[in-house]
Amino acid sequence: MSRLKVLRDILAVMTNEFGVFRRNRSAIVISLVVIPFFFTASLGAGQGGAGTTFRPTAALPIAFVDNDLSVASGRLYETLVRSEMFNRLIQGYREDNALAALGKGSIYAAVVVPKGFQDRLMANQPGTIIVYVDDGAPGVGNAVLSAVNATVQTYNPTTEIPTSTYVEVEGFSTIQIVQKGARFSGFALGLTITMSLVIVFATFYEIAGGMSREREEGTYARLLISPISLGAIMIGKTLYDLGLNIVRAIVVLGMAIYVYGARPNTDFVTLLAITVLISLLTMGFGLLISSLGVGVRAVVIIEFFLILFLFAFSGFILDKELMKGIPQIIATYLPWSYGIEIFKRTVLLGAPLLSLTFQLQFVGLSIVLFYVLSYFLLKLARERLVG
C-alpha cells in the first residue's frame, strides 16, 4: 500500500511538473527548440558538416612574395597551391605592399621567399621562408603557420611537384610521418560536447531554476510540508526532466544526423544511457544548489559559470591531458568532464560503454553524492519549515 502511495506521489509530482511546463509556451520553445537548435546549428556553422574535411586556411587570401624568382621558389609556390590548404595564394605583391595590406582585411598573411633561397638549398643548407601573419585576427596566425609548416614537409625543389600528399622526396634524406588512427571532423568532435552542453544547460535551469521559482512564488514551502515524501518529490522531478532530456537528445541527434551527416559510432541505446547519466548528474547538482535556498537570479549566474567551466575544462578548447595547475585540478574533479569523455570514447571511438569503468564510477559516485547531500539539505529545510 505504502509502495503504491510512493508511486502515486511520484506520478503526481511528475504530472504537476509537466502541467506547469505545458502552460509555459516560452519555456517549451526555449527548452526543446531554441537551446538544442542554437547549439547544434552554431556547431555546424563553426565546424562545417560531419562528412566534410574543412581546411581553415583554404579560403584565406594570402600573398606570395617571391624575391628569389628561382625554380625552387616556383616549386614552393606550386607545392603550397597543390596542398589544397592555400586556394587563394595571390602572386604579384611586393613585400612592402603586402605588409601594408596586412591587418586591413584584404590579405591575412604573406609568405615571403627571400633572395638566395635556392642557393641555400643547393648548398645542402635549410632554406628559409618568412611568414608574416595578421595575428590580430584570432586563430589566423596559428592556422596559417601550421598549414605552411605541414606543407613544406612535402616540398622537393628538384623534381616535378607530385600530385599526392604522400611523397618520397627522391635523392634526399627525409622522415615522413605516416599518421594512423581514426580521423574525425570538427563537427563529430564538437557534437559530443554540444550534446553535453545542451543537456547541462537546460537541465540545471529546469531543476534549480524551477525550484527557486517555486520558492519565490511560495508554492515550494507548501510542497515540502505536504504529505508527499521528499524522495517522491525528488524522483518525480527527476523523471519529468529525464523525459525532457530524452526529447532534447533526440532533437540534437536528429539535426546532427539528418542535417549535418553525423554518423555516431555507437548504438542509440548507449547514446540514451549516456544522456540519462549526464542528466542525472546535472539534476543532482541542480537539486543541491536549490536546496541551499538560492534565488532564481543566483541560479542563472551559477548556470552561466557552470557552462563556462564546461567549455573551458571539458576538452572543448583544450584537452585535459594538456592542462597544468588550477585548470588541471578543475578538469580532474569536474564530473561532467568524465561524462563528456564517455561520450567521446563511445560516439567517436566506438568503445563499449561498460568498458569505461573509471569514468562510469566517477560519474555514478558524483550522482549519488549530489542526491544524498541535497536530500539531507532539503530534509533540514522541511524540518525548519515544520518547526
Binding site: A45, N124, I177, Y205
Partner: protein, 371 residues
C-alpha cells in the same frame, strides 16, 4: 530643453540611482568582468603553459639513428615518453586503451634509409578524439624529426631538403600577449548589455513599475533613450574597468582609446536594442537571461571573438559576417592591436550604426504592440 532629452535624462538618472540602491545588481555589474576575465585568464594560462602529452615508442629498428630519434623525442617539451614498448601492436593498444595519446613506431631500416639519402618513415598513431593533445603530438614528432635530420646532416653530411618557416606577427601586441583580449572586451560588453537590458526592462516589468512609467506623459522613445543612456554610462564604467585590468597586466593599446569606448558603446547599444526587442516577447527576467545565455555561447564561436570569421567554414563565415557583433569585435582588435584610425574602422562603425537604427525602432514598435 528638448522634452525628449529632458525625459531621457530623467529616466537615465532614475535607472542609475536604482542600480546604486541595489547592492546585488551593482556588485554583479562590477564583479562580472572580473570573474569573466579571471576565468579567461585561467583558460589562456592553460594554453600557454601546457602539460607534456604522454606517448609510447616502439623501436623496431634499434639502430644508432633510431636511438637518436628517441633522444630527440625525449627532450621535447610538448610530449613525454611514458613507455618504451617492444611491438607495434602493444604501442597501438596503449593508445586504444587511453593510456597514452600517441604512439610512435620506428620501423626496421629507419637509420639505414636516413644515411643513404632515402625517405625513412615513422608510424604515428594518435587518439584523435582528443583534438588538441593529438595535434600537439603530431607537431612535436614533426619538429623533432626535423631536428634529427639537421643533426645527422651536421654529423654525416647527409643530403636533406629542409625549409625553415620564420613566423613574423604584424600586430603591436607583445609576442606572449593574448590575441583574444579585444574579443574578451567585446564579449564582456555584449554580456553586460544583455544584463543591463534585463535590469532596465524586465525587472521593472516584474516590479510593476514599467506600466506606470509607460502611463506617464513621457513618450516610449524617451523611456528607451533614457534606459539606453543609463546602460551606456554603466558600459563606459565597465569598459574603463576592463581596460585598466588589461593595461595593468601589460597590454599596450596601440590606437586611440576614445575609439575603443566608441565601439563598445555601439556594441552595447546594438545588444540593448536586440535585447529590448526580445524582452517585448519574453516577460520573465530569468527566462530572458537564460535565453540570452543560450544566444551568447554560440557567439563565442561566431562573433569573431575567439576565431576570425575567415577561418570558419562557408556557412559559419556567412553567419559570422551577418552578425554586427563580429564587426565590433574586429574594430576593437584593429584599434587595440594594430593602432588603426577612424577611417580604417568606418565600415565596422557603419554596420553597427545601421543595425542599431533598424533594431531600436523595431524594439519600440514591438513594445508598443504588446502593451
Amino acid at each position: 530643453m528638448n522634452p525628449l532629452i529632458r525625459d531621457s535624462t530623467a529616466i537615465a538618472k532614475k535607472d542609475l540611482k536604482q542600480l546604486s540602491r541595489d547592492p546585488l545588481s551593482l556588485a554583479l555589474t562590477i564583479m562580472f568582468p572580473i570573474l569573466l576575465i579571471s576565468m579567461f585568464t585561467v583558460i589562456s594560462g592553460a594554453f600557454r603553459d601546457s602539460h607534456a602529452v604522454p606517448v609510447v615508442i616502439a623501436d623496431l629498428d634499434e639502430s644508432a639513428q633510431s636511438k637518436m630519434f628517441i633522444d630527440e623525442l625525449s627532450v621535447s617539451k610538448l610530449i613525454r615518453v611514458a613507455q618504451l614498448v617492444q611491438t607495434e601492436e602493444r604501442a597501438l593498444e596503449t593508445v586504444k586503451a587511453g593510456e597514452a595519446i600517441g604512439s610512435v613506431v620506428i620501423p626496421k631500416d629507419f637509420g639505414n634509409k636516413l644515411l643513404n639519402a632515402r625517405a625513412a618513415f615513422v608510424v604515428l598513431q594518435t587518439d584523435n578524439s582528443k583534438v588538441t593533445a593529438s595535434f600537439t603530438v603530431i607537431r612535436a614528432v614533426a619538429d623533432r624529426s626535423r631536428e634529427l635530420l639537421n643533426k645527422l646532416n651536421a654529423q654525416f653530411n647527409i643530403r636533406l631538403v629542409s625549409v625553415d618557416v620564420v613566423p613574423r606577427p604584424v600586430s603591436g601586441r607583445p609576442p606572449n600577449g593574448d590575441f583574444i583580449l579585444p574579443g574578451y572586451l567585446g564579449l564582456i560588453t555584449i554580456l553586460g548589455a544583455f544584463d543591463d537590458a534585463v535590469n532596465a526592462i524586465t525587472r521593472e516589468r516584474e516590479r510593476g513599475t514599467y506600466t506606470r512609467l509607460v502611463l506617464t506623459p513621457m513618450n516610449l522613445l524617451s523611456i528607451y533613450g533614457g534606459k539606453m543612456a543609463a546602460a551606456l554610462v554603466i558600459n563606459a564604467m565597465r569598459t574603463s574597468f576592463v581596460l585598466m585590468i588589461f593595461v595593468l597586466s601589460g597590454l599596450v593599446i596601440q590606437g586611440n582609446i576614445l575609439l575603443v569606448f566608441l565601439i563598445t558603446s555601439l556594441i552595447s547599444m546594438f545588444t540593448l536594442s536586440l535585447s529590448m526587442m526580445i524582452s517585448s516577447r519574453i516577460r520573465s527576467s530569468a527566462t530572458l537571461t537564460i535565453m540570452e545565455i543560450a544566444i551568447t555561447f554560440p557567439l563565442f564561436q561566431l562573433s569573431g571573438a575567439f576565431s576570425a570569421p575567415e577561418i570558419l567554414p562557408a556557412g559559419g563565415r556567412a553567419i559570422s559576417r551577418a552578425l554586427p557583433w563580429t564587426w565590433g569585435n574586429e574594430a576593437l582588435r584593429r584599434i587595440m592591436y594594430l593602432g588603426l584610425d577612424l577611417n580604417a574602422i568606418s565600415a565596422d562603425i557603419l554596420v553597427l550604426a545601421i543595425s542599431i537604427m533598424i533594431f531600436l525602432p523595431l524594439a519600440t514598435l514591438l513594445s508598443k504592440r504588446t502593451m
